[in-house]
Symmetry: C2
Subunit: 346 residues, 2 copies
């Protein structure tokens, strides 16, 4: 084999990751509808040190890790700094975990986060797919196959549907001994987390992000919480200096002023509930999303028609295998979404 | 095998990447001695858009790629945007290339950049080491082993010695058909580049960085130039959105005001030449570095003694297998280095 063969096989087998064209109303990536707070941005500017910019800055991200430990701690459990590592977005963590555990049998549960498959193809890692039954894990089948030589990737709330899995489903996974990568990217919109169980379950990894609730998608900051053994191993395989100085500063800043973002989250949650209710009244089959998006189950032809209708009206939404995912936008954007959908079944 | 086995084997086999303790005078990482220009920082602040911060921003880095294409173009060759990809530091590119081509036979030439080995161990990739003979490639041996199923990683100027390889050595590598990853991290301090040969040699990848001459180490921005086929394949396996919005903006800004940095580079080069001359007069065996550091060849015991002497005087330098590497600092810092070394052989 030569490098030419490898290049050709990637070009044949791995789809290029394409950014979508941005329309005037862009609700395809579950970004925050609120711009980053201007006051905080000013505070940020005042803190940037030109003498630090020139340096390789704090690869363990010590200050930020301390703040995250405090943020994720609960009444029943206090996180330690050796249980946390920071990523260039949660995506880098997922990408690295796929690569790190590629020799094990890796499972995903469609409909699920699209990047698991995109990254696995990029890395030449094989994934096993066990589709959800309704919105539940296929426990009957999984009981037979999951063991200590398996890894499962599960978003909770799920993506693209936004629904939460039952506690018994999560604990079932944990008790199989499989490594469980629980992707809590949308945690802040529902408050349900399993992060406090990393002490009891050494096979649990919880992944989180600053991209959604904290308005920092562009700055690529995610984190993982797990046993100190797992974090230590992970820190040895990740790229040093993977998160930039300015990104570390911004993440620290939003955590120190988190109430601003919690208030915004409350507004997004209100809008999400309003959207779900209105869509149900229009007789759409809507999942019980607790994230910052709603999901409409649709047959293929209706899905295509709805996607086109949105695009014709300048709104980008996410078309997935089982339906359409729509990010919760500003009140005006959500009104536009509802107005477009009112015309859908005429 | 279970995930516990993988975690344990990483903890056993892969050294943790440790950031060095920063001393008052820190010359261990070849950072720019000059802080980021305050005027440019103000321009940067004026351009940051709070509504963009909340979004997933421009994964192909279109604007920045255009500017880099213009920057790397020469009289004999104009770069196209499809010949360039951006990395979360040049290190991410090196890390990804090692993983992408791990099935081939990969060669490095010690003394060389330490991260090739650190990343290879992290990725479980085997490296073959063919030590330099003096400061030259072992062509006699390499003639026998290099072919299309090989990859070579070579810094030029070399790191940690800072010397340039001869043109005939570079063209020898290219003509073997091996994939040649030429690491031009220190290009700006010598002006010698092979980037204009990516058209003739489809097996050439040139890697560059904004971390050294452009005072942006903390922001993690590197790039690669290669044939469009190779770039296309690489873009399919890299993490999408790998470079943050603010990092893209800063890199664009420094390229648009590059004269500021060229002036600083001229001063660093002057200081480097002064340092080399003085060190030679002190009878140290100094390599002919054309980078932003100098290198003193030393036997083990002298190396340890010199390293300790620097630390006792609050100066961090880099101890490597064959000697001590010292970053070119400000005039005052360089004076301190010389003063410390004057006391070395008493």
């Amino acid at each position: 084999m030569s490098f030419v063969d490898i290049v050709e096989s990637i070009r044949k087998d791995v789809e290029a990751y394409k950014s979508e064209k941005r329309t005037p109303v862009y609700l395809a990536l579950n970004e925050s509808p609120h711009p980053f707070p201007e006051g905080l941005l000013k505070e940020f500017f005042e803190k940037v040190d030109p003498a630090t910019l020139r340096t390789y800055f704090d690869s363990p991200c010590e200050e930020l890790v301390k703040q995250i430990a405090e943020y994720v701690s609960t009444e029943r459990w206090k996180a330690r700094v050796d249980q946390i590592s920071i990523g260039n977005g949660a995506d880098e963590i997922i990408y690295n975990l796929l690569n790190m555990f590629k020799k094990l049998r890796i499972f995903i549960f469609p409909p699920t986060y699209s990047c698991y498959e995109i990254f696995a193809r990029a890395l030449g890692v094989r994934l096993r797919k066990v589709p959800l039954v309704g919105e539940r894990l296929n426990l009957k089948f999984l009981k037979k196959v999951l063991s200590q030589d398996c890894v499962v990737f599960l978003p909770n709330p799920n993506n693209p549907t936004g629904h939460l899995f039952e506690e018994e489903e999560i604990f079932f996974l944990l008790k199989t001994g499989s490594l469980v990568v629980l992707d809590e990217a949308y945690y802040d919109f529902c408050g349900k987390s399993y992060v406090s169980f990393v002490e009891e379950f050494e096979n649990l990894i919880v992944v989180r992000t600053f991209s959604k609730a904290f308005c920092l998608a562009s700055q690529r900051i995610g984190y993982m919480v797990a046993s100190s053994k797992l974090i230590d191993a992970y820190d040895r395989i990740r790229l040093p200096y993977n998160v930039s100085y300015l990104s570390q500063m911004l993440a620290s800043l939003v955590l120190s002023k988190r109430d601003i973002f919690f208030e915004r989250v409350r507004r997004i949650v209100q809008e999400r509930e309003r959207l779900k209710e209105k869509l149900r009244r229009m007789n759409f089959k809507v999942s019980d999303s607790v994230a910052n998006f709603v999901f409409i189950y649709l047959e293929d032809d209706e899905k295509e028609r709805m996607h086109r209708l949105f695009l014709e009206n300048g709104v980008a939404v996410r078309k997935t295998e089982f339906g359409i995912r729509i990010g919760v936008g500003s009140s005006e954007q959500n009104e536009l979404v509802l107005k477009i959908l009112e015309g859908f079944r005429c």
